[in-house]
Amino acid sequence: MRSAWALLWLTAGGLGTGDLAASSVEEANAACHKCHAVPDLTVFDPRTDRMVILTVDPAEYRRSVHGALACAECHPHGYDRLPHYGPLSYPRFLCVSCHQEAGDIPQLTLEERREELLGSAHGREAERDFTCHTCHDPHLFRLVRDEGAALERIRASNRLCLDCHGTAAGRKPSFEDLPASVDVHGLFPNPRAHFRKLKCVSCHTGEGHSRDHDVLTAIRSVRECSECHGQDAPRFEDSYANAVSPGAPEPSGEAREDVYVIGSSRSEWLDLVGLGLLTAILALTAVHALARQISKGPL
């Protein structure tokens, strides 16, 4: 059954030629959407003692990375009856069962991610109910690198943080909309410019493999400007590297589209010409002054 669904996923999403398969998924999901497309569909989950939002926007779901999957692929048990039986939320790191065990879908190094997460600022929460799905809503999640131009990818990345770290009013489209964050980030000479063109995790992560999951507390985050404001600064390169489409001929060039960073974007050629000009002028004046001395001209 799983391999059949995996084949369906590959056909519909991976190869992009699966109109028929995609329509089959749509038909299979239509019954679910009848209830779950209703806005603000909320129930009380006695297991976690919390209210759970069960709404899944069909359009958003189709655009997500899992959009080509039928609902039953991840909800196989207890969902064929109404009302549904069984747990309303998943065991921790359920992603592993597909992304590390099934051989024909994208494999993720989830064990490394888990270690980074446990050692991160989210670690304490991770020991309780902080899972992959806390940030990566499986019904909405899209790869940041698929979000278009660099600034859109940055916004998409930051949205994951702001879903929780926004104001009490809830989700905010951009860090720029958080006035308090300007005060908190007073280290920046121009906080709003940084919010617009920088991912939160660019500074709020350590030296891990992904630089996304090992989130640091404010006090441990990067405070040295030259980590980004230097030519070929490793942190600047890394902060954009995972937003680059696979196979891009010049990763750093693509990553820097729409992004200009003082010091990091400097042209060696222009520096060569500019400094050469200054050196030539200095040499010229020195030679001129010396020649005047030799000719006994007034100096």
Binding site: L187, P189, N190, A193, C225, S226, H229, G230, Q231, A233, R256, E257, D258, V259, Y260, I262, G263, S265, R266, S267, L270, V273, G274, L275, L277, L278, I281, L282, T285, H288, A289, A291, R292, S295, G297, P298, L299
Partner: protein, 197 residues
């Protein structure tokens, strides 16, 4: 145009009044802008005397002072009548430039008289006239405009010349900065050590 005769009583070349104060402010601001700009440009250099944050603050404050100073110059230059020295009145500028360059390259070493000695009605020689007019009314507006756009990045175009908008601004700003720094070296040498001698 031929070389101009000297006045019977040579013009006093010393700076006075508002021009003296203006030159003082310009000197402090521009040297500070060069240092802070270099600290930002080579932020990863271990020899940078200012941290990146301090360099940005200094560059912003001095840049604003430089902008105000330029506006003050334009207004006072117009009102005081000093603008007449910047007017490129002679259409045959090229033929006037040659004797001046020849003097700098040859005549000065052989005690020849200046081809265009300063006069009350025309203080600058053709080379000075061209350089000062270009610097004050072309290069500095370019430097200040591009700097203003870097200070208010929201005003910069999203894209220019097929590049992300701020990058061309930075290239223009830096190029103008290099040219002005080169001018500064020549200006100091020519005015302090040559024309005053």
């Amino acid at each position: 145009m031929s070389e101009r005769p000297p006045e019977e009583r040579p013009t006093d070349l010393r700076l006075g009044g508002w021009l003296l104060w203006w030159h003082g402010i310009q000197t402090v601001a521009f040297l500070g802008l060069i240092v802070s700009g270099a600290c930002m440009h080579w932020a990863d250099s271990p020899w940078a005397p200012l941290s990146f944050g301090d360099a940005v603050t200094a560059h912003n404050v001095l840049g604003l002072a430089y902008l105000v100073s330029w506006v003050v110059f334009v207004v006072l230059n117009l009102r005081s009548g000093n603008l007449r020295h910047y007017r490129l009145r002679d259409p045959d500028l090229r033929s006037r430039l040659w004797p001046q360059f020849r003097y700098y390259a040859w005549g000065i070493f052989h005690r020849e008289p200046e081809p265009f000695p300063p006069r009350t009605d025309e203080k600058f020689n053709p080379a000075q006239q061209l350089a000062y007019a270009a610097v004050m009314y072309l290069l500095m507006p370019i430097l200040l405009a591009s700097g203003t756009l870097l200070f208010f990045p929201i005003l910069a175009p999203e894209h220019a010349l097929g590049l992300p908008g701020l990058l061309p601004m930075a290239i223009i700003h830096l190029s103008a900065g290099y040219l002005l720094a080169a001018f500064l070296i020549l200006h100091v040498y020519l005015t302090l050590f040559l024309h005053r001698s």
